[in-house]
Assembly symmetry: C2
Homo-oligomer: 332 residues x 2
DNA sequence: GCACAGATTGCACAGCTGTGCAGTGACAGC
DNA sequence: GCTGTCACTGCACAGCTGTGCAATCTGTGC
């Protein structure tokens, strides 16, 4: 048996008895081919299992159909939902998703990110994780448009669309809700690797609390993950007094909530109110019922799509995604 | 401003004052280039932001670095964890992940899957969802190796590696555990879109129950998702009598568990025992503490990697992934 | 100074597609 | 029967890289 090879247009042309150009044209809408030839070519292609090589096509055109999706922890429930929604939407436009996990151990993240450009992606979408400056420069030099979701704005003058949920408003909403619940001693839990978006949530929260004369403890340590919430709860709730906790991420807030309820035996919202940020699908589950600040996934996805649809030479834009309070059962 | 273009090797060659071949060689390990030339080339590349075009490279070689990852619902916690682990592992080997979401609405799934071949992926890994026969044929014709994870074996003679968790053993373990807990009337919840793997889990479970003279109700309806578990619990537990439920997926089992506990006010494991299958990260959370059958993610990932590493002409193989019972707090 | 080995270098082609351009044939109009 | 039009068709090249092969250069031994 000969070693298997990808079927090329030349193979199809040979079988159909036409020139290779004809095959190419048969797959180009609006190109000049006779109906008879097109039929014969499609039949031959079907028989051989031919598919147009998009790599070669990309080589010839100057934009590819590839979009780079960059993220850190895909098992974070909100990121996973985002990935799910975004990949569906992109495919709906005929675009393909090249995944890049920045959590790959031991490797130079910057190098891995740059790898995306090796595939001539037309866009790079940053879902989570930091954007090294040299990556941004690389994208600009190669004409790949960047989309930053809830990331800090890049240095002056660089080409990147920003999609920003209203972190400040979200932080304020969370603070006001806790105050309305009667909380007098609260804490905010940020991860150690705090992105500007998360910092902004926490800062807005603290500002409101300060204005109302409520003392705030800030817990900023550990990865941006469930265990951080767990550890924060253990430490913060070691001695009594705290009556409200804001987790800057649903995942963190769920760690706090579960530890308070099931490990420390506290009643939520009786003894303690907990509020999160994101509105991940599992926050709604009856095992949690987490009150949280929703950043609409639909709006986020729509904005990303819009950013991607812009022509390469269009000036960078900033998209604002609204947030809203979702009342459930973890705040008094 | 001129429209941005990708930097090519010719641009670098011009700047460095060498031939284009030299640039190519400077990026090929072991190729003959003088140290001085290599340095000059790398400097020029750095200045321009050049990166080797892997699309063109793929064109020339006959294997690409692209692996197609196909899945249906990435927000399923186990699938998300799998995606996370697998993308890390693949990148660690210098491979890239092309994502394909089969849940894309309104489109022909088969067509979308075939799209993967347009990018000349060297492997197609099927994480979830069905594998249409024509996709398998297409892969074979184009020499792309397929890896099916917990999928039914393809028709005789087709080239595809199988990675199978021991579904039957898992189903038996679940049944025996429920029997040991003293359950006398049990149910198994399968989704409507039942894959063979999930069917096998359910069947093995039923077989053991039948042998022990325990009546089993089978609930097979709805998507493979959390809400299926919710609906199943509402329907199955409408009248009392049931004392054990096996969800063929953790996600389903969690739907059952939460509905029983928080909506129907049942005590688990007091009134009802619940057991799942997968061991997703969130099953361990103290809000759930789900007793389940673990299919080791590490083993799954390792087997996938091994399958991918095999040369294209190697005969297809079957990898068995062991399962084990993980005791937590939802079975008496 | 010369021959020779070894290290570099550049040319030219392969790999696969899209497309401008010229060429072929059919067919209508006279 | 001749000519102009029009729909196809195929050639040849561009787009970017890897690599065999021949050519060039460097240095060494005599």
């Amino acid at each position: 048996m000969t070693k298997p090879r990808f079927v090329s247009a030349a193979d199809v042309a040979r079988l159909a008895g036409v020139s290779r150009s004809a095959v190419s044209r048969a797959y180009t809408p609006g190109a000049a081919v006779s109906e008879a030839a097109r039929k014969r070519i499609h039949a031959a292609a079907e028989e051989l299992g031919y598919r147009v090589n998009r790599l070669a096509r990309t080589l010839h055109q100057d934009r590819s159909d590839l979009v780079g999706l960059v993220g850190g922890n895909f098992s974070n429930p909100y990121i996973a939902a985002q990935l799910d929604a975004l990949s569906c939407a992109l495919q709906g436009r005929g675009l393909q998703c090249l995944l890049m996990n920045t959590a790959t151990a031991g490797a130079d993240v910057s190098e891995h990110l740059a790898r995306l450009l090796d595939y001539r992606v037309r866009n790079v979408v940053l879902l989570s994780g930091a954007a090294p400056d040299d990556l941004i420069r690389l994208c600009a030099q190669n004409g790949a448009r960047m989309v930053l979701i809830n990331r800090p704005p890049p240095p002056e003058g660089t080409q990147a669309d920003l999609i920003l949920a209203d972190s400040a408003r979200g932080g304020r909403l969370a603070a006001e809700r806790l105050i309305a619940a009667g909380c007098r001693r609260v804490a905010v839990v940020v991860s150690g690797s705090r992105t500007t978006a998360k910092k902004a949530r926490a800062e807005a929260f603290c500002a409101v609390m300060a204005a109302r004369g409520v003392a705030v403890t800030t817990w900023a340590d550990g990865a941006n993950a469930y265990v951080t919430g767990v550890e924060a709860a253990r430490s913060l709730l070691a001695q009594p007094g705290l009556d409200g906790i804001f987790g800057v991420t649903d995942e963190i807030a769920l760690g706090v909530l579960n530890t308070a309820r099931h490990e420390l035996g506290l009643s939520v919202p009786g003894d303690l109110s907990v509020i999160g940020f994101d509105d991940a699908p599992i926050s709604e589950w009856s095992s949690h019922g987490l009150t949280t600040i929703r950043q609409s996934l639909d709006a986020l996805t729509a904005a990303t799509l819009e950013a991607i649809d812009r022509p390469a030479e269009a000036p960078p834009t900033r998209f604002a995604v609204p947030v809203e309070l979702v009342e459930r059962t973890t705040v008094a």
